[in-house]
Symmetry: D3
């Protein structure tokens, strides 16, 4: 499958925390940056996400902001 979303960042799941309906999945990517994805609990089950899993973070270009300075 190919997706129009332009941002595919490889990484490894370091934590999956499910809420009542929404889960937070934390993914370590190159350089040690930790990403947080807020997805549905159904998606966690459907993808069988668990710690140590190799995944990609998928982000649409129109959802990426740029920051300069501290």
């Amino acid at each position: 499958m190919k997706i129009s979303g332009r941002n595919f960042i490889p990484g490894k799941v370091i934590e999956v925390k499910e809420g009542a309906t929404t889960a937070h999945v934390r993914v370590e990517i190159a350089g040690g940056t930790i990403l947080t994805a807020s997805i549905t609990n159904e998606a966690v089950a459907d993808l069988g996400l668990k710690k140590g899993e190799t995944v990609h973070a998928l982000i649409k270009a129109s959802d990426v902001m740029i920051a300069v300075g501290d």
Copy 2:
């Protein structure tokens, strides 16, 4: 300034391509992954974005999807 958005990815601008109203800014992050941000031309001018600039990509957790498999 501190932002509630959970994803700050450091990188370097490798290309700024302005359209009629929307610009695409490509940023190389650790591991060689290239991110694309779709932002307004005004933002490019306001932040003075140009090739070689050190920046962060800022992404809200609710805008990050997870993909598994190829």
Copy 3:
């Protein structure tokens, strides 16, 4: 590949209109509803999108609003 995004809507491309950086892709789905996707020109080229192509619209659950009444 499996994606955490919960909304996969099958349809057929009826129009691809490229701007300077951003393209509008219109997709006819079941029932005759026409969807519009705003994606990058690079994505159009990368996916080889053209009229008549069978595709899916992919939408994150957190990007879907509900409307009632007229």
Copy 4:
């Protein structure tokens, strides 16, 4: 009221599942595809959403990705 969002998909609510703050509303649209909307519990109460209700899913064009292949 008219909205700039380009995607209005008619459907019927088949499930409303409220979490602590976020609710998942599943809507069956033409062709049998099931959409999931992640909205606030306040919105569910405000719109009086319940199973069997006729609604529209409202999605901004910039939030729609396109996928090709399986």
Copy 5:
């Protein structure tokens, strides 16, 4: 029509700038803050948007970040 999106901000259009496919609509809201909406050219025509028009900015709660400090 009622929408699940929680943020309706009244304002007045001060500028409409159309690109090749994407338009920027600037809206002055209470307190003098100027909002920028990036919408499709089709939406501008469909809503008949022009300078001086009274409108609302509609924003989903999951698209609002919070910033503290300068």
Copy 6:
């Protein structure tokens, strides 16, 4: 720090409601309009958000829709 996001709306926190993973932060802005931001519980703790705090709502231009009429 400067951000490409075009919409910075000053306001005051009037309520912080944490769910299992997702919090709703309500902010009163000029004119008395109340905004709702859906952010992570981690962000609430990281920013030390509480009632009475002066903040800005940060919204990307591509996440703002325009509505006309009632």
